[in-house]
Amino acid sequence: MRHLLSAADLSRDDALQLLETATAMHDVQHREVKKLPALRGRTVVNLFFEDSTRTRSSFEIAGKWLSADVINVSAKGSSVSKGESLRDTVMTVAAMGIDGLVIRHHASGAPQQVTQWVDAMVVNAGDGTHEHPTQALLDAYTMQTRLGDLDGRHVAIVGDLTHSRVVRSNLILLRTLGARVTLVAPPTLMPSGVGAWAAAEGFATSYDLDEVLPDADAVMMLRVQKERMSGGFFPTPREYTVGYGLTRERLARLAPHAVICHPGPMNRGLEITADAADSAQSLILDQVSAGVAVRMSVLYHLLGGSE
């Protein structure tokens, strides 16, 4: 594996190995000295063309805990805001002799394009509404810690599927790991052409959360992306909550062993209520903590050995 651009880059063995290494990396978080020398002398640039707090900082911590030198470049306040092209920005950064490039960009496919221009390894940290493979890995890692092997488990992904890049990566990875997946959303937020996609990839779709909920081993609630809601996707927030929110009543109908995930940031009271977000079944904070371990695992596997 030279780059990580899509969850589809990962075979089942690759994914399991990344998750296993993440377990070893997770131990480091509980140590007094949170440092491993594995990437000493390597330089990683976090190149973020979109705002992000948790992804950028978890990549930064992951790199630093592995002893890499980490530099953050954000579009705001850089030459990008002066009109420099993606290619020139990337080539300029790469000319400084870096080993790895973690990139977030609003255009789907940008990280793939970047691999054509530079020798450094490239990790996709979110491209448009396309993919976010490390988020899918950390979701799978977190679910595994509570549910064990995901083979045969049923995961419901609920909410704003149209605008979410988390969905595609999660769907691919969960299928690779053998889980059953059901996508649940109101018709207006279900991606167009989902039927053919579902048939090809072997997952189910539903407009009825109450029907899917009791059978789910995990529910992944997605954020309603208010900033992208320029069209009338649902009449009122209240109506969305009634149809698709993880409310106290729905929480009660969840199987006792089932877990709740949310990639964050949450709109409390809209897609998820405080009862559900703070319940014992919620793994939302575990996901944040797993983010660092999973990104350490990815950086280690891409940069740790000889090429």
């Binding site: 070893a24 491993l36 594995a38 740790g304 050995g305 000889s306």
Partner: protein
């Protein structure tokens, strides 16, 4: 002439070389090491036994069981993965990392006994000492190995050795332990001049 019924016997499936430690030799060596540890430590107070994956873990568990037999106390046991601390990471394909398990009381002010199967260049032990430094500050660190085959590249020595085994660099020492490899416990030496030596002692 080979008997047809022996053509696919397990013995033929074994790697080339000769057995230098049998199952009995291994258990005798471990028992002696356990006694040495107790004697040197004047008991088992403050001891922590840490295996270096993967076969070091098996040996560490066995040593702790022997210490329990000898002294009637349960010595905390754990596992110390040194993958990230190796100085050859950049020269080889990525190695999978294993988990590190440290007993709940930690290793501060404890006497840590590191356990590995083979001591060779000393680089694994160096990596283990670096890893320990990130986990705490033991009062002392001791090293127990089943086989010391020489060829040290660093100033490191073992405190407890099951067998000193002079080898050529071209030779390969293969340790098999039931818990990890199945079959029977044994240490074999192969390669170098032994490539031509297929006669078995088993």
């Amino acid at each position: 002439m080979t008997r047809p019924d022996l053509q696919h016997s397990p013995q033929q499936a074994q790697p080339l070389g000769r057995t230098v430690l049998s199952s009995t030799d291994i258990s005798r060596a471990l028992r002696r090491i356990a006694h040495e540890i107790v004697e040197h430590n004047k008991g088992t107070d403050d001891l922590v036994v840490l295996g270096i994956p993967t076969r070091g873990n098996v040996l560490a568990d066995r040593l702790v069981a022997l210490l329990a037999q000898i002294e009637g106390t349960q010595v905390p046991v754990g596992s110390l993965d040194v993958t990230m601390y190796r100085d050859d990471l950049r020269r080889q394909p990525v190695r999978a990392a294993a988990a590190t398990r440290i007993p709940t009381d930690g290793i501060d002010d404890k006497i840590v006994v590191l356990v590995d199967d083979v001591l060779y260049s000393g680089r694994t032990v160096r990596a283990a000492l670096d890893a320990l430094g990130d986990l705490g500050r033991p009062r002392a660190v001791r090293l127990a190995v089943l086989v010391d085959r020489g060829h040290r590249e660093l100033p490191i020595r073992a405190d407890h050795v099951g067998k000193n085994l002079p080898t050529a660099k071209a030779e390969r020492v293969a340790v098999r332990l039931v818990e990890h490899d199945g079959g029977v416990d044994q240490v074999r030496i192969a390669g170098g001049a032994d490539d031509h030596e297929t006669g078995e002692q088993a």
